[in-house]
Amino acid sequence: MAENHIDETLRALVDIDQVIHAPARLTVLTYLYVVESADFRFLKNVTGLTWGNLSSHVSKLEEAGYVAVEKEFRGKKPHTMLHLTDEGRAAFRAYKQSMQQVLDDLPD
């Protein structure tokens, strides 16, 4: 019973979105949350991730439906822009809210 009580108390921690919770993905999502869209190179520069890391984290966010990848052409060259989907934006807001709630309730 005591264990159930603990689980219930820390329910918010258990429910935290693990896709967002990884530091690298959280950084990518934070930057995408504050802009309309950005390309890979810009995200690589602001996050400090390597191409490989960035690519794998973006793939995970894309699989979760949080990030959409749009191909466009600049002249004859293909150019990829990334933006948060509505689902991604809502998930980020929910994550922010639940983290705030968890941290606010912790004793000093």
Binding site: T30, V34, V35, E36, D39, R41, N45, T80, M81
Partner: protein
């Protein structure tokens, strides 16, 4: 967690990074360079053409910054489009700038119509005030603190120039010296920023670029 995470600060960092290429500094330097060079041209071209000749120079400078941004900066720093919060802020900024330029335009017409009756120091002070207002507004709205310094330097240029003219008979009201210094600063800073960016963001062909793989 020792540091407070602010989404507003993250957005500001992204916005500032889009202007870290030094091209706006170079453009500001080019615009006000006119005041340093035009006095030398006025003897051969006359007052009007010595200033008017700078319009194609500005157009060329703008074209050069556009080309550099497209072919040198973007391939290194990437592309970002700003969200609705920034767009709304830029709209408010445009309205504020429009108000300042309207006041400047009205003052300019008034000053031209009564050129003989208004003391020269009024023209100089008005110019300094408008420059200072424009740069301060831009610095405040965009949170680019270095623009306060550029604004102060350029606003002080005609005042210091007149002082040099009165006290040491500096040629051309001291403008070539004072504007030379005040435009030299943004030009130098801009070039330094651009060179630093080119060196710190090399385009490497050895890196595996994820764009080909992303999105199918």
């Amino acid at each position: 967690m020792s540091q407070h995470i602010s989404l507003r600060e993250a957005e500001q960092k992204v916005f500032a990074s889009a202007f870290a290429d030094g091209l706006w500094d170079i453009m500001i330097g080019c615009v006000f360079l006119m005041f340093a060079v035009a006095p030398f041209l006025s003897r051969s071209l006359g007052d009007f053409w010595s200033s008017a000749v700078f319009v194609p120079f500005w157009a060329l400078a703008y074209l050069a910054t556009w080309v550099i941004r497209k072919y040198v900066v973007r391939p290194r720093v990437g592309v970002v489009r700003f969200g609705p919060w920034r767009k709304a802020r830029l709209t408010r900024f445009s309205i504020a700038m429009l108000a300042v330029f309207t006041i400047a335009f009205v003052l300019g017409i008034f000053s031209a119509l009564r050129f003989g009756t208004v003391p020269a120091w009024v023209h100089t002070a008005s110019f300094s005030l408008i420059v200072l207002s424009t740069f301060s507004l831009t610095a405040t709205f965009l949170r680019f603190t270095w623009l306060y310094i550029y604004g102060a330097l350029i606003a002080l240029s005609p005042l210091v120039g007149e002082w040099l003219y009165l006290h040491s008979s500096a040629p051309h009201h001291g403008y070539p010296v004072t504007f030379g210094v005040s435009t030299g600063v943004p030009l130098f800073v801009g070039l330094a920023k651009l060179i630093h960016l080119v060196h710190s963001h090399p385009i490497s062909n050895h890196e595996s670029h994820p764009e080909e793989a992303a999105g199918g």
